[in-house]
C-alpha cells in the first residue's frame, strides 16, 4: 500500500469504522442458550434450573433468564447495550434469591449499564435497584461479569451485590441447537 493512500482520509475513515462495522455484523459469541451447571456453581436460591439466552440486534444484546423449579417458571428480559446507554428496565419480581425476605421495591425498576471489559469475552453489567424488606427500602448495586471461556463453550457469571460480601459464581455450558 502506498504511503499516499495510507494518509488518505478515506483510509483513516475505513480503518476506524471497519472493525466496528464487522463487529456489528458478526454475531457475538455470547449469542445462544446457556444452561446452569450445578457442579462448581453457587447453589441457585430457590430454583432448580436456570437458562440464560443471549440474543443480539446490532450492537445491543438481550439477556433472557429462564428460572424454573418443578412446574414453576419465571422469566425476565434485560437489554444490554455495551455502548453505554443506561437501560431502565421494568422488574416484576426479584428472582435472584428466593430464600430471603427481599422483594423488588415499589418502583419496579432497575437501571442497567453494560460495557465490554474485553470485547466478546468479558461483559460487565452494573445494576442499580431498590429492594424492599420488612424494615423498608434499601438501594442495592450489583456488578455482574459474564466471562466466556477461550473455547466459547463455557460461560462464568460472577456477581457481587453491595449487600452481600460473598460473590455468587454461576457456571453455564452452551446448549447446542
Amino acid at each position: 500500500m502506498s504511503p499516499l493512500l495510507r494518509r488518505s482520509p478515506w483510509f483513516l475513515f475505513l480503518a476506524t469504522l471497519l472493525p466496528a462495522i464487522l463487529a456489528a455484523a458478526a454475531p457475538s459469541p455470547f449469542v445462544g442458550t446457556w444452561r446452569y451447571l450445578p457442579d462448581g456453581s453457587t447453589q441457585l436460591s430457590g430454583w432448580d434450573a436456570l437458562d440464560l439466552v443471549f440474543a443480539q440486534q446490532g450492537a445491543t444484546l438481550t439477556l433472557t433468564r429462564d428460572f424454573s423449579a418443578g412446574r414453576r417458571k419465571f422469566e425476565d428480559v434485560t437489554p444490554l447495550d455495551p455502548e453505554g446507554t443506561v437501560a431502565n428496565v421494568r422488574v416484576d419480581w426479584w428472582p435472584d434469591n428466593r430464600h430471603i425476605g427481599a422483594y423488588i421495591g415499589p418502583d419496579h425498576q432497575k437501571q442497567v449499564r453494560a460495557r465490554w471489559i474485553e470485547p466478546d469475552r468479558i461483559l460487565r453489567t452494573t445494576t442499580d435497584l431498590v429492594l424492599e424488606t420488612q424494615q423498608g427500602l434499601h438501594p442495592v448495586n450489583i456488578l455482574t461479569d459474564y466471562r466466556l471461556s477461550p473455547r466459547g463453550d463455557r460461560l462464568t457469571v460472577i456477581e457481587l451485590r453491595s449487600t452481600r460480601d460473598r460473590p455468587t459464581v454461576y457456571l453455564f455450558e452452551r446448549v447446542r441447537p
Binding site: 453457587t42 414453576r72 430464600h99 430471603i100 425476605g101 424492599e132 424494615q135 434499601h138
Partner: protein
Amino acid sequence: MPRPLSLLGPLLLAFAASALAQPVPRKVTEVPATATLVPLSANWRIDGDLDRHALLISLQGLANRDQPRLYLEYPKNWQWEIVRPLEGFLQQRHGIHFDRLATDDVDDALSRFRPQLKGYVVWDRNVRSSLIVAFTAAGVLDAVVVDDRLEALAQKHGLRKLEDLRGRFRGKSDAEIYQWAYDHYWSRCSRDYYVLLGGPAGEEMQPGIADFGVRQHAFFTDLSANSANPRQLALERRILSQQHPASIVLGWHSYGKDTEGAHTTLVSSYGLKMEGLHNLPNVSFTCQIPFTPGFHFTNTRHVRPGEHLQAQAKVYVAAISTDSMGIGSWTKPGRGRIPYAWQVMMNWAWMNPPALQYFYESRTPNDYFIGGLSGPGYMYPKAIPAAKFPALMADARSLMQQLDLHVLEIMDYSEGNRQIGNTDLTEAVVDRYYHEFPDVIGFVNGYGSARTFALRDTRPLISYDYYLDVHRPVDDAVADLDELMTLNPRRPYFLLMHVREANTVGRVATILDHLDEPVDVVPLDVFLKLAASDQTYRTQYERPDAPIDHNP
C-alpha cells in the same frame, strides 16, 4: 332473668361447633398386652413388593377395626422416621409386646387375622389406579387387596373373591376409573374421611395411610386438582362438596398430577381439613391407643402469660421446623442445642395420641411447640370461605388449649409458593385471625419468606424472613443471613427462619455460629414478646398488585 333466646344462642353455637367435629376413633379402655408386628421391605414398586405391602396394609385396617392388633414396621428409609421410636414408646409406656413376624410375611399375617376378613378384592397390576379403587372396596367389603400373584394365597386361607378389577379399567382414564368407583362404592363410604392417595406417581406407591382409610370406610382416589384435567377436577369437587363440614381429607396430592398448593387450595375452599401425608403409617393402630394415665400436654414456656419483655438493639433469631414432626429432625443429633420451635399436627391429639405423647415427653427445654397449620389441619385461609372460618378456628382454639399451644403458624399457597406468586395474607384474613385467637402470644406466617407483618395490642404477626433449604451449603446460608441483616439495618431486627424438614438442629446452630454480626437465638415465645415491644417492621398485608400464581 336471662331471656330464653339469650340462653339458646350459646347452646346453638356449641351445637354448631360440635357438629363440625368428625367422629373421633374410639380409644380402647385397655391397651392389648400383645400385638403382631410385620416388618416391610424397602421396595414399593408395582413390579416389586407393593402387592404384599398393599395386602398387609389393607389387612391392618381390617384387623385393627375394633382393636389395635397389627403394627407394620416400615423400612428405615421411610419418610416418617418415627415408626421405630413409636414402637419403642408403645413397648415402654404401654407395655405392648410385639410378636414379630418375618419381613412381608403375608401368609402368617393372614392366618392370624382371618376372622376379621370376609374376602378379597383383586386389583390389576397393569392399571395402577385399580389398587386405589381396591382400597375403597376393601374398606366397604371387609376384604384384603391382592393382585394375581397373591390370589392363590388368599384362596388358601379360605377367602372369597368379592370384587375383581382385572381388565375392568384397561384403556380407561383416571376420571372414568374413579367415576366407576364412585358409582359403585361412594354411597357406602364415609363422609368424615376421604383419602387422597397421591404422593409418588408411576411405578411406585407408598400407601401408608391406607390402613386408616380402610378402617374408616373411606373413599380413595388420587384425582387431580389441576384445571388441565377438567373431568378429574369435576369429580374431585363433587366428592369434596358432599363430605361432612370440616371433615378430614387424608393423604396427599399426586406428584404426577398437580401441586400441593393447588390441591390444598381446593380442599380449603370447601372448608375441609387436609391431614397429610399419603405415607403416614399405622394410624389404624395408634388412633385407638389412649394417653397414659395422668398424662397432660405441657409445653415449655419461656415467658409467663402477660409478661412484658423489652427488645434491645440487636438481632433476634428464632428457628421453626414445620413439615410435620416425625419427618423432620426430631430424632437427629443436636436437638436441644439451641432454642427451636416445632409445629405440631394438632389433630393427632385424637388421631394419633401416642405419637404426640412421644414428642411431648421427649422434648428438651429448648423445644417449643406451636400450632398449625393455619387452623385445625393443613389449610389455606385465603381459600376458606369466610362463613366457614369461625367454626374451623373454634376447633383450632380447642386443640391449642388441649395441647398447651400459644402460637399459631399460618401458611397460604393459594396464590403462589416460595418461588413465584405471593404467600401473603390479606388484611381481612389477618383481621379474622386476630378476632378468633385473642389469647395467643402471636402468629407466624409463610413457608418461604413472606412479607405480611402486623402488631395489634401485644400480639405480633411475623412472617418468615428466611427459608433454610435442605441442600443450601452452610457458607451460602451464612451469606444469606448476613445479607438479610444488611438489608434490615435497624435494631432490633426480628429474623424468623423456617427450617426445612431434614435440616438438623446441629446444622442450624453451625450456621448461626458463623454470622458476621452476633445474634440472639431465642425461643419463639420470647421472640414474639420482644417483637411486640419494639415494632421495627412495617405493618404490611397482601397488596392489591401482588403477583398471583395458582400453582397449576
